[in-house]
């Protein structure tokens, strides 16, 4: 395992890329030798952020989503960015069950899941400019030779 490593992923905001994004980030995470539980946690949080960019940020229109992953020592930092509509009131948006798309059967639990499964969550957003969700998680296990 490198103590420092970085990757950037840019893709179309199509729902068929949600699974792809999860696999790519999980594969990058593997070098930290995480538990299955930790991988599942990261995949869930990432899935929420990417889905939000597709549904809320770009409202279904095709545009670019960027994921930035940075490994530093035992911590993975993940940023999910869109240049979509942005969020008027971030504090309100982050409240459990809050959703602006209840007609689309959104549960309003995206941010709650991100908070529950990661160690930290920061949301930066500007209406009309876009949204950046930054999450970190400490991965506890250590290196395994010849395995990734």
């Amino acid at each position: 395992m490198s103590v420092e490593n970085e990757m950037k992923l840019e893709f179309d905001s199509r729902s068929c890329n949600e699974g792809f994004a999860r696999v790519a980030v999980a594969a990058f995470l593997t070098q930290m030798n995480p538990t299955l539980e930790e991988v599942a946690d990261v995949k869930t949080a990432l899935s929420e952020a990417v889905t939000n960019a597709i549904i809320h940020g770009y409202e279904g229109k095709v545009n670019k989503i960027t994921i930035l992953c940075h490994i530093r020592q035992q911590t993975i930092e993940i940023e999910v960015m869109d240049q979509g509509v942005g969020i008027q009131n971030v504090e309100e948006a982050m409240e459990p069950l809050f959703t602006t798309k209840s007609d689309c059967e959104r549960a309003g639990m995206g941010f709650s899941f991100m908070e529950a499964f990661m160690d930290s969550l920061q949301v930066q957003s500007e209406p009309g400019k876009g949204t950046c969700v930054k999450m970190t998680k400490k991965i506890l296990r250590t290196e395994n030779k010849y395995e990734r």
Binding site: S15, E18, R22, T44, S47, R106, M109
Partner: protein
């Protein structure tokens, strides 16, 4: 839609895919709702046997079907959930309105 659905009387079993996310949930929703309307469905069984991933889009999808059915006096249950899925269901609070069974409850009045 083929292998993803089974109708028995007024019960609909939905065999969920390996990953229930926004993409897959959207596709399921449309097909399920068509069946529910056309076949007068009163009970939905979400079968998680193949599922190892679900996020909050899955919760929204289940909740949506629950609301539609509840409105007509129907029932929704979840079966064969693994530890991870159980945790997601628990965190979401959806377990309060949807029963989780090991397998299809044979004697149940639900079915």
């Amino acid at each position: 839609m083929g292998n993803n659905f089974k109708v028995t009387g007024t019960s609909l079993t939905i065999y969920l895919p390996a990953e229930v996310d926004h993409h897959n949930a959207e596709a399921l929703k449309n097909d399920a709702d068509r069946l529910i309307q056309n076949q007068n469905i009163r009970c939905i069984i979400f079968d998680f046997a193949q599922t190892n991933f679900m996020d909050s889009s899955g919760i929204g999808m289940i909740m949506g079907r629950y609301k539609n059915l509840r409105f007509m006096g129907g029932n929704v249950i979840a079966i064969r959930v693994n530890e991870r899925i159980r945790r997601i269901l628990t965190m979401s609070g959806i377990y309060k309105v949807i029963d989780i069974y090991e397998d299809i409850p044979q004697q149940s009045k639900l079915l």
